[in-house]
């Protein structure tokens, strides 16, 4: 039985920029602050620790708890920066949290970035071989994969050119064709899969549906509420790193739409 259980998961991470990247400046600032002995913690969603090094800590997730059991199709909604993608990355095991309990049963596959794990200097074909190697496929399986992706992505001569020469739509097609190959028990999906031209969209939809059907659990983030209404059985509404609402699709989405309509853009 695949399941996901989160209890009190919090995650904060530093946003490093400018001076905070410098060892010299960090050491100097630390020396200075021990001499002046400034105390007092600063609370809040985004706090600045120290003064001259400017390490901004972003509290991306705050005490997130939920359980997803087999068969559930969960949509994540919320404004930009509400913590949807961060949550997805936590579930995918890319971000590790120090606090709370994370219990995931079943293999996960995350569609986070269309060019995930791709080397832009390599050709489409070589990227597929690399992908096959990452998945631990045999030579035969890799060859079949190559043909399948070549047919599906329909890139023609570009297939043997470096990915950096591709238009953004072309990279999405290649990335999509590759990313939708595994059949994981838990599928985590970011909203990028909505890209591509109309003809590709129809093809993509069929392929994606096959993948979603095979998955025991789906977690998807999207701003396209119609898609979520169609696919999801449950919606988790994130706001500033916290769960604002969690329930059946229509209840949560109605409340969400009402809230969005209230707040001026």
């Amino acid at each position: 039985m695949a399941h996901i259980r989160l209890e009190d998961i919090s995650l904060s991470f530093p946003v490093l920029h400018g001076n905070s990247r410098s060892l010299k400046k960090t050491l100097l600032a630390r020396a200075k602050s021990t001499m002046t002995a400034k105390t007092g913690a600063v609370g809040g969603r985004m706090r600045v620790s120290g003064n001259s090094t400017d390490v901004v800590e972003v509290q991306a997730l705050i005490n997130v708890s939920f359980t997803i059991s087999e068969g559930e199709r969960v949509g994540l909604v919320g404004h930009n920066g509400a913590g949807k993608s961060t949550l997805l990355r936590v579930l995918a095991g890319i971000y590790e949290t120090g606090e709370g309990l994370l219990d995931i049963e079943g293999d996960t596959h995350a569609l986070i970035d269309p060019s995930a794990g791709m080397n832009r200097e390599l050709t489409g074909r070589e990227n597929i071989q690399l992908f096959a190697c990452r998945m631990g496929m045999s030579r035969m399986a890799a060859l079949e994969l190559e043909q399948d992706v070549e047919t599906f992505s329909d890139l023609g001569a570009f297939f043997d050119l470096p990915v950096r020469l591709y238009s953004s739509g072309m990279s999405v097609r290649l990335g999509f064709a590759l990313a939708t190959v595994p059949r994981p028990r838990i599928l985590l999906m970011d909203e990028w899969f909505m890209a591509g031209d109309q003809k590709f969209q129809d093809k993509a939809k069929a392929r994606l549906e096959g993948m979603v059907d095979a998955a025991e659990i789906l977690v998807v983030t999207s701003h396209a509420l119609t898609v979520l209404r169609e696919w999801c059985t449950r919606i988790i509404w994130m706001e500033s790193g916290e769960i604002r609402m969690d329930g059946p699709t229509d209840d949560v989405l109605d409340a969400y739409e009402a809230a969005v309509a209230l707040t001026p853009a």
């Binding site: 530093p14 410098s22 890319i94 293999d107 190697c133 998945m135 496929m137 994969l145 399948d148 096959g210």
Partner: protein, 289 residues
Amino acid sequence: MSVSSPASDVARDKAPRRQARRDAPRGSAAARAWADWKETHRLWRLGVRLGWLDIRLRYRGSALGPFWLTITSALMVASMGVLYSRLFHMQLATYLPFLSLSLTLWAAGLSSLIQESCTCFLDAEDMVRSVQLPLLLYAVRVVVRNAIVFAHNIIVPLGVFALYHLWPGMNAILAIPALLLWALDGFAACMLFGSLCARFRDISPIIGAFLQIVFYVTPIIWMPQQLGAKASLLLYNPFYPLLEIVRAPLLGHVPSFQLWAIALGVSAVFWAIAVRSFIRTRARLVFWL
């Protein structure tokens, strides 16, 4: 959708399904680092492949490929050999083989390994942030990449040896365990410098400058004997034993037990520091990139 099904089935049937991740990222930091290592071990082929691809990409479109490395280091050795044998009043026949070997061991070996370890994780930023792969895999990649470059460069001293009809004899085999020690140290360097340089971007140039100093104070272009009675002081320079355990066998000598002991001791301490630092920084590393 008919076109999409074949490989999907293939993937399902033949690819080993990834292990259920139950509480995998939990446990102590050390346990998680250990899990990272075990996963790296499982995927070692991918690490090797990434290293190869780096080389192929670097020289894509050039007819000579990685042999450009060989040519540039040959030119370097030839010009420095003629100049410094004059400066040091040495026979070219004794100095040039020594210099060609030392320069290659330093530039394509120790120095490049340490310098490239700094960008170990920075170079892989996109992958680290979007694909769940063990971090130590990128260390394997750096070590493999350097081993390939090294293999191309070692041709130059071998050519010089052939030119002067030198043959190190069976002692040369002793260089192999020493080179393995270098690979291990390079791996540790990735763990330590790779994560430090991700956090503090000015460490990489600091290490570069430091290596420049080491180049001059270590007997690379000059011979230890030139120091005369003060040569024992060299034992305080950890780079000297590390270099000598590879160089001496290739020149036909057996390195002393003392040199090996120091090289192993230094490596052990370095490893201990690197492992500690990696355990502490591993989980935060992705946020620093």
